[in-house]
Symmetry: C2
Subunit: 231 residues, 2 copies
């Protein structure tokens, strides 16, 4: 058995990060999964991340508690209505949506960086996407590049010139349909995942929030069936 290099994989339990986990494993890494409990209005995401990590045989999965509600300002963490039934074009053209969480990916990547340094891992995987991204500033390629540059100055690697940090964002330029096809090729079971911003008490997806609209369109474009339950 060859020794696999460790990598940190940010895992939300959605279809993007679940596909990223499969990509990291397929590329020969030993994935260490990191999930955040950050004041979401529901625990469905955390449960999905646990299912996905267990199913993928990830040996090391940490749930990090951080309280972004202290800062307010987002439909995902405060008590604001999530937009419904917006066409994908409208999501992108209306600027930054109210579901944007300030500096969320920066906080997530910072924790991943700390863990990577402790593990001696050089690679951090994140499922950001610049096409279906709904206007989030911290999902753009130039942001990812700037974070990587900063990370290499922030850590032992930066001082000692060893084991440079790579922020791996393999979905950056894929459409949702391409992500789904790639996941299916790698054997991902999308029934374990969840994307909805506003699931019901059973964990069934609403089918109307931006995340559901993009997901359903992605499966339709990919010619595949979405195996999760909708209200």
């Amino acid at each position: 058995m060859t020794t696999q290099r460790p990598a940190v994989v940010l895992l939300s339990g959605g279809l993007d990060s679940t596909t990223v986990l499969a990509i990291a494993r397929d590329a020969g890494f030993d994935p260490h999964a990191m999930t955040f409990r950050y004041g979401q209005r529901h625990e469905a995401e955390i449960q999905a991340a646990r299912r996905v990590a267990a199913h993928a045989g990830v040996g090391d999965h940490v749930i990090v508690d951080i309280d972004l509600r202290t800062f307010g300002g987002s439909a995902l963490t405060a008590d604001i209505d999530v937009p419904r039934d917006r066409a994908p074009d409208a999501m992108a053209s209306n600027g930054i949506p109210i579901t944007y969480v300030p500096a969320r990916n920066t906080i997530f990547l910072s924790f991943a960086l700390a863990w990577a340094e402790v593990l001696g891992a050089g690679d951090i995987f994140i499922g950001v996407n610049a096409l279906d991204y709904s206007g989030y500033p911290d999902c753009r390629p130039e942001y990812i590049a700037a974070f990587e540059r900063m990370a290499n100055l922030a850590t032992r690697a930066g001082v000692e010139g060893t084991n440079p940090i790579r922020i791996q964002a393999p979905l950056l330029h894929l459409t949702k349909a391409q992500i789904i096809r790639r996941g299916l090729e790698l054997g991902v079971d999308f029934a374990l995942t969840t994307s909805c911003y506003d699931p019901d008490a059973r964990g069934w997806s609403c089918g109307h929030c931006d995340a559901c609209v993009l997901r359903l369109k992605g499966f339709a474009d990919a010619g595949a069936r979405d195996p999760i339950a909708y209200v």
Copy 2:
């Protein structure tokens, strides 16, 4: 009364960040203080930060709980002996000390960035120092510049081109003695602060860890008396 611009000030309760708070106020900002409870082995830092913020009349002081112990790897968060009685030259020449906390300033600045975005603040103050810094990679000028660049791509400011983020590190090129003199000029009460990595049960400083050695040398070089209690 003029309207003061809001700024986020990272406040540890040490003499550096306490001086930075005074500098931010002196520069005309309305400081919003942010302190982290990150698995320190003692609560003395948090208590000092509360005293300092109250004494400075800061209206908005948040204590953010994050658990860096999950990651291990540092004398400040794990159960490793803190080095004693090292000369300042030895701290700098021995590479990165074991008291380094992986990616700590990156995590702290990321939370500050989130809060700044919610407050509509463009300025984030941090008391990092490149001279007496004991070899921490995330206290170097090039690191601060890279974080600022990343921050402006991470946020609404980056997309909309408004209210750019400035990481203000006014102590970056000062000696400890210069920091103490600046603090005294601005009326800082250093009796409220603490710096020790290993205080006793009363909160008295050990006088032997790197932080105490640098602090005591700083007061001696400044020709001032350190008003805190030592064992």
